[in-house]
């Protein structure tokens, strides 16, 4: 039986998997590329940012009869909580429920976070995209997002090089050096809840969810240092290579 092609697409985390640099002044239109991989089964769809209707339409066109791996959003845990709220929060993530709790923090129910992350995941767009992909005999898979980075020093140094961050701090009247990050353990728990959210969304849509494999986590569940990209939220090509191998294995094991 001929194996199906895996077409990798979605939001910004595709950057770790599609190692085809695109210059800022290059043609931003969606572009189907072959991804180098021993399986010879991988393709990627690059293109305009922010993603437009045109990008998703092209994905449906190219996704016919293929497995479409969707890297959907994936940063909600950080886009809400990278900077520590003044009134601290904590939670119990059902995926790893025995982690320590900060008794001085407000305990947020996981179900509330799942509702928040679902709301910020452009779920309506995902629902219609998955429906359109199924119509063209495509098999969509919802893919995990990278675990968070533990190293606050790395994140701070990186942000201090970022003019937009400095400018935004000024607008908000915050001293950049005084910006406090949420504790790494909280970032990890929030990431766990985001993955639980994706699993639930995938179940609801009747599509498989590809969870983060153990090989992209260190002993504490964080992204290993050698998989850091040059920012606070994304992973690099080392991470991408592992995910590609594991994705191919996942589709074979689950006869997708």
């Amino acid at each position: 039986m001929q194996e199906k092609t895996l077409l990798i697409a979605g939001h910004s985390h595709v950057s770790a998997l599609i190692n085809r640099p695109l210059k800022r002044d290059a043609d931003p239109r969606p572009y189907l590329c072959t991804i180098e991989h021993s399986s010879n089964l991988l393709q990627g769809l690059t293109g305009e940012w922010p993603r437009t209707k045109n990008y998703w339409d092209e994905l449906v066109r190219h996704g016919k009869d293929k497995i479409v791996v969707l890297l959907w959003k994936g940063n909600s845990h950080l886009s809400h909580y990278l900077i520590a709220p003044r009134h601290p929060i904590d939670l119990v993530a059902s995926a790893d429920q025995n982690l320590p709790i900060n008794n001085n923090a407000a305990l947020i129910p996981e179900t509330a976070l799942i509702e928040l992350f679902t709301k910020t995941s452009e779920i309506d767009l995902l629902v219609s995209l998955v429906a359109d992909l199924k119509k063209v005999n495509s098999i969509p898979i919802l893919c995990c997002s990278p675990p968070p980075k533990e190293d606050d020093g790395f994140i701070r140094a990186n942000l201090h090089r970022e003019p937009t961050f400095i400018r935004q701090c000024k607008v908000l009247g915050i001293e950049p050096n005084a910006v406090k990050f949420s504790p790494p353990l909280l970032r990890y728990k929030l990431w766990c809840v985001l993955q639980t959210t994706y699993r639930k969304i995938a179940n609801r849509l009747g599509i498989p969810f590809f969870p983060a494999p153990a090989t992209v986590k260190d002993l504490n569940g964080f992204l290993p240092r050698n998989m850091y990209s040059n920012d606070s939220t994304h992973a690099n090509a080392v991470y991408g290579e592992i995910i590609k191998d594991e994705l191919v294995a996942f589709t074979k094991e689950n006869t997708i």
Binding site: S79, L116, Q168
Partner: protein, 358 residues
């Protein structure tokens, strides 16, 4: 010769003809030393759904409504809690019976731990004592921690308030056959599963309601000696009765018991008062538009009438305390929004840059 008798020199408000048949003044019905509530008093409310109606009026009029458990300001983007869990001082929701209130205090103090303290279902771990929670626990550990936090917040509200207002709602309840733990709703109605082996109906009598109220007040005073307690009876009839009586007769029984119990407890305890919300809304002087068409739910007009009478006997001056607290809260919210906005800016920027690299 004109005869003299005890009714001769009674004030106007003690004659039906002058106090009810005409010129009815709701505030006069209350028998409470003025002011009922002082400006600086921290107020906690609990009780049936009718009790929740008081809160917006208190807050709008600058009184200090104490909240010790509330949704984090970062969660305004998602729907608020169901039912009344976000309305009261802590997230206990509606408390219909005196027994439920007393058991809540005992639970806060670790003196009572219900055997049936969770319902494990496919959708998560549900709290039998807060069965309508929208944001329930996903795991047993989370359920335990959320419950501890909730009980601590409730204890803080009870121990730090100056005035506690409790609205008695019902005498009918469902309880555990194992340890008598009273559920706010019959298991299986809002959620959970009714099990005749585990759950039984209970219709409290006057002695029991008095006993529970007195025990509650006595134990409350151990942690908050100066607290003043204000009792009211909800005018809202029973939605249904589990007795074999007509629901109207069951309602009359229930309200009569609660009203008598409130009177006895007020008479026998210091600093415990009764406010006649029930009389203002259900008395023969009340206009027909105090109840909705279903003759069960009270209308905004009725609540206004009650609250006008209520506020008329409260101290009303100096908005400074309220304003200072309000501004403090507003500042906190802005700062929290800033942290969230900055997190989002960073993530958006990095997503754009990452996307440009592929």
């Amino acid at each position: 010769m004109i005869k003299s008798h005890p009714y001769k020199s009674l004030p106007r408000r003690q004659y039906w003809s002058s106090a009810v048949a005409k010129e009815f003044v709701a505030a006069e019905v209350a028998n409470i030393p003025f002011p009922l509530i002082k400006r600086a008093d921290r107020i906690v409310t609990a009780g049936s759904c009718f009790a929740a109606n008081l809160i917006p009026y208190l807050e709008k009029n600058g009184f200090r409504y104490l909240r010790t458990e509330y949704a984090h300001s970062l969660y305004r983007a998602i729907p608020a809690e169901n039912l009344s869990y976000a309305k009261f001082s802590a997230g206990y929701g509606n408390i219909y019976t005196a027994r439920q209130l007393y058991q809540l205090l005992l639970r806060c103090q670790g003196r009572f731990t219900p055997t049936e303290d969770r319902w494990v279902t496919e959708e998560g771990i549900l709290d039998p004592f807060r069965p309508g929670l929208r944001y329930h626990a996903s795991s047993e550990r989370e359920h335990e921690l959320l419950t501890v936090n909730h009980l601590l917040a409730t204890q803080e509200a009870f121990s730090s308030c100056d005035v506690l207002i409790f609205t008695l709602g019902l005498t009918e309840a469902w309880q555990s056959k194992i340890d008598g733990a009273v559920f706010p709703a019959c298991p299986g109605t809002i959620t959970g599963k009714f099990d005749p082996e585990l759950h039984e109906f209970k219709n409290f009598n006057t002695t029991e309601v008095i006993y529970d109220l007195q025990n509650f007040i006595q134990d409350l005073r151990k942690i908050n000696p100066k607290v003043r307690v204000l009792l009211t009876v909800s005018p809202v009839p029973l939605v249904a009765t589990a007795t074999n009586r007509h629901v109207l007769a069951a309602t009359t029984y229930s309200k009569a018991v609660l009203r008598v119990a409130a009177e006895v407890v007020c008479n026998e305890s210091e600093n415990v008062y009764y406010f006649p919300a029930y009389e203002v809304i259900t008395g023969p002087q009340a206009p027909s538009n105090f109840f909705e068409a279903d003759r069960r739910n009270v209308t905004p007009d009725a609540i206004c009438a009650v609250m006008d009478a209520f506020l008329a006997i409260c101290e009303r001056e100096d908005r400074d305390i309220f304003c200072a607290e309000h501004h403090k809260l507003a500042d906190l919210t802005i700062e929290q929004e800033n942290s969230c906005m900055l997190s989002k800016e960073i993530a958006d920027l990095e997503c754009e840059e990452a996307a440009m690299d592929n």
